[in-house]
């Protein structure tokens, strides 16, 4: 039982900001290309898939050119997978802080996520350029939903990140499991192929993957000038549930972090 009159948590907002910017600065320090890496990675991956799925095994993406089709999904996907990988490691990598200083531990996890949003913003700006180059509809009413889609995606990431980060303190297998899991999850999400290729019988199961609704909604808004797809509701519900569960789990086990190292 610990009682403390002063609620110090409001004071840690500045720590969140300082720690996030520390991660971003450390990532690109002593690198020549710096923030360009945030673009190079999705661009290179998309280039490979574009060659494969337009030349070798043509995939029908309707009127949308394959490059934009896959890049528009690759950018949010990389935010998702890279942030989860970072979040899972965030506690273990900073154990010297966890065992020496008191502060709300979730800040480390949250900062790992926010630091990836910085990369996302860079890569996303290129996506806007692509959309304009291919003369797809821009700045329509659907764009108002972009922050909502992003928020749902981040809630989902944070929930998984909180669980993964705390489990990784106890079992280092988690790190490897996450690496494998992200690879498989990539193919279970319509990033390099349209969801119409999924057999009808599997569709409802397929939509239980919360990233399906997220990716479909990004595409609907960004590429087709539509409102988010209805499957975003499933994603929102799952994301909210996972975030709450993740936070509760984190609170339940965080008092053991400093003892386990």
């Amino acid at each position: 039982m610990i009682k403390s009159r002063a609620n110090q948590s409001h004071a840690y907002r500045d720590f969140l900001i300082a720690w996030t910017s520390r991660i971003v600065r450390a990532r690109y320090q002593q690198s020549i290309l710096g923030g360009l890496w945030a673009i190079i990675q999705p661009a290179a991956t998309v280039a490979v898939f574009t060659i494969i799925f337009t030349r070798f095994i043509p995939v029908d993406t309707g009127e949308i050119p394959y490059v934009v089709f896959s890049y528009s999904a690759m950018v949010p996907w990389l935010l998702f997978s890279a942030s989860i990988t970072d979040m899972v490691e965030s506690l273990v990598m900073n154990m010297n802080l966890v065992t020496k200083i008191f502060f709300p531990r979730e800040i480390l996890v949250l900062a790992a996520l926010l630091a990836r949003v910085f990369d996302f913003a860079i890569a996303f700006s290129i996506l806007i350029v692509l959309i304009m180059v291919y003369r797809l509809p821009v700045l329509h009413i659907g764009w108002l939903f972009l922050p909502v889609i992003l928020a749902i995606q981040m809630a989902l990431s944070l929930g998984l990140g909180l669980i993964g980060a705390s489990l990784n303190v106890f079992y280092r297998d988690i790190k490897h499991m996450i690496g494998l899991g992200m690879q498989l999850w990539f193919y279970a999400t319509p990033i390099i192929y349209p969801p119409t290729l999924v057999p009808e019988a599997w569709r409802s199961l397929y939509h239980l993957n919360p990233m399906v609704g997220v990716i479909e909604s990004y595409r609907a808004v960004l590429l087709r000038g539509q409102l988010p797809s209805s499957s975003l509701l499933i994603s929102a519900a799952l994301a909210a549930g996972i975030l709450v569960a993740g936070y509760l789990f984190f609170r339940l086990v965080e008092h053991q972090f400093a003892d386990v190292v």
Binding site: R5, F15, A26, L97, V98
Partner: protein, 404 residues
């Protein structure tokens, strides 16, 4: 007493750690109260109680592994108690390790902000105290140098400076000042005293018993997780040396112990058995006339061959003030090698030019390279000095006044 007056209070504070690397089960992770029978546990802290009011300062002393740092980690919410309660009323700052949050590649300036925010300060609070932090740390010229190029002293100074300027209502300081030089240590102690006088509640861990006496209003001695003594810093200091001695005797009977549970301050391969103070007539006496020359005789049992050990004698006042300290090493004396399982007797004379009062006599027996003690008794016997000329202070220098 009304418990609401306390800023820091611990009731039956206990912390248990698992020994070894037993595999964690998911059930234990989720906080099941059924502890597995296979696991072995160790109480790092057991049933410790204390309460501090604003402006009070508590020193904690004890050998390594006695639970001192665990208490600070429990108070600062880094780790959580297994049993018992803690209540902390006010903003706290804990110095468990200086500069723990520093990033080596960032400059001193950047680290002040980063470390300050980790310690719970707002950016504007740091901005406002920035000049004071830099001045206190004395790193002015190196402000824009990455801290990886700092000397360990500079690193520690900056770490202390940031943490000390959190302006806490409760300040927890672990044995962290040992790295700095004497001048900086003094500065830190002065700062701690200043905070204490402003009403900050202070808890201070140190092996530096003089620092404890300087900074703390009370002191508790920890031994193997238990609070074994609480009282004035001077009493606690005396008690501490007795505990160390007793534990060393125990350890020599128990053989090697598990690492981390107790520190072998003394190897006890040579044991001081008997100390007596003899007056001019060769009679044992504990009351000495000021100016008299006495002889101190001690019997020492060597359990192992001990090449040229160093003998030291020290005299303290009951308040802990050092009166006298001298060693065979400083006297440039080389003692012979004492063979295993022999007993030796040593003797030295002392001219008691002390003012009236009570004094503690101590005797230490150290390795020839001064790395460890064979045995150490800081309070071997108490003696009284009587019949002075009315002088006050410590030393009786026999001033002879004359009008010329």
């Amino acid at each position: 007493m009304d418990s609401m007056e306390y800023t820091v209070q611990a009731i039956n504070l206990s912390k248990r750690y698992r020994i070894g690397h037993a595999p964690l089960s998911l059930r234990s992770l989720l906080g099941s109260k059924k502890y597995s029978q296979v696991d072995r546990y160790h109480w790092a802290v057991k049933d410790v109680c204390f309460g501090l009011k604003p402006g009070e300062s508590l020193g904690i002393i004890g050998p390594n592994g006695a639970g001192k740092t665990t208490i600070l980690k429990l108070l600062s919410r880094i780790t959580y108690p297994t049993e018992g309660e803690i209540s902390m009323d006010g903003r706290f700052s804990a110095l468990i390790e200086l500069g723990a949050g520093f990033h080596p590649d960032l400059t001193g300036r950047e680290n002040i902000f980063l470390n300050g925010t980790i310690l719970g300060m707002r950016r504007e609070e740091i901005q406002e105290r920035f000049d004071r932090i830099v001045e206190f740390a004395g790193i002015g010229d190196y402000l824009d140098t990455p801290v990886k190029r700092y000397s360990s002293g500079m690193y520690a100074r900056l770490g202390f400076s940031v943490a000390a300027h959190v302006d806490p209502e409760i300040l927890l300081v672990d044995e962290v000042l040992a790295v700095g030089d004497m001048a900086f240590q003094k500065k830190c102690y002065d700062h701690m005293l200043k905070l204490r006088d402003k009403g900050t509640t202070l808890i201070f861990i140190s092996h530096n018993l003089q620092a404890i006496q300087r900074v703390c209003s009370s002191c508790m001695v920890m031994y193997r997780g238990h609070k074994v003594f609480e009282g004035s810093p001077a009493e606690a200091t005396a008690e501490y040396s007795n505990i160390i001695r007793r534990s060393a005797v125990e350890l020599s009977h128990l053989g090697p112990v598990e690492s981390g549970i107790a520190q072998r301050v003394m190897t006890h391969k040579g044991v001081i058995q008997d100390i007596a103070m003899l007056n001019q007539d060769g009679e044992p006496a504990l009351t000495v006339h000021s100016g008299e020359t006495v002889r101190v005789r001690a019997k020492i049992a060597f359990h192992e061959t001990s090449p040229s050990p160093v003998f030291a004698c020290l005299i303290q006042k009951p308040d802990g003030q050092f009166v006298y300290n001298y060693t065979t090493y400083w006297a440039d004396l080389t003692t012979p090698t004492f063979e295993a399982n022999t007993t030796a007797e040593i003797e030295f004379s002392l001219k008691i030019n002390l003012v009236e009062g009570m004094y503690y006599l101590g005797l230490n027996l150290a390795y020839s390279d001064l790395s460890r003690y064979y045995d150490r008794i800081d309070r071997a016997l108490d003696f009284f000095v009587v019949g002075g000329d009315g002088a006050r202070g410590v030393a009786d220098l026999r001033a002879q006044f004359k009008v010329l």
